[in-house]
Symmetry: C2
Subunit: 413 residues, 2 copies
């Protein structure tokens, strides 16, 4: 193949129109960071923005910053800035709370809108577990006969979604395999069966082009601290199709979702539109950091990022399969571009130990049970030479069996 | 009275053993900040801690910080640091999510533990509205015949809490009036009727001594960004009496409350103890700031703070009533120490406009509908001379009618 040398990768970097965007990020020298799908790298701007929020807005302006610095409107303002990345419109997105909590709100709202006779929530057994746990929590508490139907392959969708389905709840890009659903086709097929469709964009927002309106999706949640580089645990986002705004209700009806929060009425009355997805006061410092991640995206567009993402994942798959052939790795991630997100996973029988050794050598990926090594490629800052060098180190570790197979497993979020 | 001169207040400051703690905070020169009950002032340490989290933990160590920097354990570690301030024990408190969301979790858990035949949640009409909204959201969604009984005076508690009561849910210090409940007596009386008692400590944690164990309370939530100085919108806390840990379940059962979050099981199984109150990934930067606020409390104790708090509020009430006599102010806050938190409220027919003018003159209090001007006294940094000077400015504004009565009202959180 033409890219099978480091020099060829250097040439790809030299020709990469997105290469200058790497300078927006603080990337530790000597580290090959392939875990932006778990925690995005730090935009340089984040430090200065934090200083501004802490010194000026909190320290100096204090309580006045709720209005003066726009803290109260931050969930909406950031939502509007994020919206173009997911094909959403103005006043359709809020950045708030966690992905789990937003999923709970939107799933509850979907069940309320849906016909009460439809009792099944369809999702994948391999969905990120917290999505299933939240659906479980909600339905067990409602105790109205709802049940969760877990499917094992995307092919089952055609039969699993039927006249009993209330909501189809899917993660757009699978956290472990990197499998990408065809949002438009899946949404349309499910809606033809009368289901509502809720997408979790945690592993796709900022990684692949998304057009919620073109797909006619109903609801979406997602994460800002992965490909959107919003900072550790930064608040998540929620989107509701405008056609559902008027009927939408959710049980976490805190004062930020009230139509007049400062009139201090003892009875709840919902506000307008997407504000109905809000609940309580937000962690302003973490929330403010989200903007620094979003600002980088204004320098490019999702289609340019997708081109580079596919070039990076193609290269990684090809180099691993050629240079690490016979060393026990098996590709988990789909080969077709249309089914691939922006991370690539391989299994290895000692996957945890191998990943631990990779990390010790400065190649930061992560590990997910069972046996899966994940490598995330963030086109904003990952270089083609990073891919070459990561594979070189992986090959050496595997060839030399230079890993401790009894390594104690530690949690990595 | 003996304190009726600025010189007398200067002498009180000179004698104040807590006076040195003011140097731990960044307080803008020329400002008299009497709104720490809404947003606590910034500890100097917060800036450096934010730099550490952003540059070192996020920027340099990246994903490894979930373990290396203890991000994953931060809710528990901060909970343990907060626990002594509220009379809680080790592994009984987590700092996580918002007060509204924590209240939802704990109220849901209380209803689950309580006999199903008990269908009434008792609270005050004058409770902070979001507490009522969350109870409304929960009970309407459960749709099992629960209803909320709103009482108008604390005296009604004796009849309102009865054999039908599932949960008595009260805010310890009322956000508007500053009224302080007798936690021990109220808890005991309610429990004698078979009710569970959930306390919202938003306006009392860090402001008054609290002993959840001595009071035999069942559940508590509270806020870290008011008297605890944790930063704007910083994550809230949740406490569950150890006797309830084993039975406790809540519907926001995200992966952080799972017994083995990283084994990625599709079925939810609750973790141990207070971790059951967790849900999803936390906003690390905002969460980390909470520690800077808590660290100041290690320099003193709640009884010393209470002595100064009462001295400050006594002084404020006395000076307003003497120096502003006949100028239209009426005290809202109870006079007995045992019924008073750490803020004082007065009504004025033009309360909003007067507060606006006070703020323009550097005296930062806030306003709550209807007609209530609130003044918060934070013994960690409020000086006796601040009280004198604030009253002087208030008197001049009222005496000169130096306020714009048509001032447009703006929201202040």
């Amino acid at each position: 193949m033409t890219n099978s040398s480091r020099a060829a990768c250097q040439a790809l970097d030299a020709d990469d129109p997105l290469a200058p965007l790497r300078t927006w990020f603080d990337l530790p020298p000597g580290m090959i960071y392939l875990d932006g799908n778990s925690l995005g790298a730090r935009p340089h701007a984040a430090l200065q923005r934090a200083q501004q929020v802490i010194q000026q807005e909190w320290g100096h302006d204090l309580i006045r910053s709720w209005n003066k610095a726009g803290w109260f409107d931050l969930p909406s303002r950031l939502g509007n800035k994020l919206a173009p990345l997911i094909g959403a419109g103005e006043n359709e997105v809020v950045v708030t709370d966690s992905t789990s909590i937003n999923l709970f709100k939107l799933l509850a709202g979907a069940l309320q809108i849906q016909a009460a006779s439809r009792k099944v929530i369809v999702t994948e057994r391999d969905n990120f577990p917290t999505d299933i746990y939240m659906a479980q929590g909600l339905t067990e508490w409602l105790d109205r006969g709802y049940r969760i139907h877990l499917i094992d392959t995307p092919q089952e969708l055609t039969t699993a979604v039927n006249a009993e389905t209330a909501v189809l709840m899917l993660t757009h890009v699978n956290y472990r395999s990197g499998h990408l659903h065809d949002m438009q086709a899946v949404t349309q097929a499910a809606q033809e069966q009368g289901a509502l469709v809720l997408w979790d964009l945690a592993h796709s927002a900022g990684a692949v082009p998304i057009d919620l309106h073109a797909a006619n999706a109903d609801f979406a949640v997602g994460c800002t601290y992965k490909y959107l580089n919003g900072g550790p645990g930064a608040p998540a986002f929620a989107w509701i199709a405008p056609r559902h705004h008027a009927q939408f209700r959710q049980p976490l009806s805190g004062w930020w979702s009230h139509q007049a929060p400062f009139t201090m009425q003892p009875a709840f009355a919902p506000g307008e539109g997407i504000r109905r997805a809000l609940c309580g006061t937000q962690p302003v410092i973490s929330l403010a950091m989200v903007e620094c991640g979003l600002d980088v995206f204004a320098q490019t567009d999702m289609h340019a990022l997708r081109r580079k993402s596919l070039a990076l994942t193609d290269l990684f798959i090809a180099l691993v399969e050629s240079r690490c052939a016979g060393l026990g790795l098996a590709l988990v991630t789909p080969r077709p571009h249309a089914q691939r997100g922006s991370h690539v996973s391989f299994t290895h029988v000692h996957g945890y130990a191998v990943m631990r050794e990779l990390i010790a050598h400065g190649v930061i990926g992560d590990y997910r049970e069972p046996q899966v090594m994940r490598f995330g490629f963030t086109p904003l800052y990952t270089q083609f030479t990073d891919v070459w060098d990561a594979v070189s180190i992986l090959r050496r570790i595997l060839a030399d069996q230079d890993y401790e197979i009894d390594a104690r497993q530690e949690a990595v979020t």
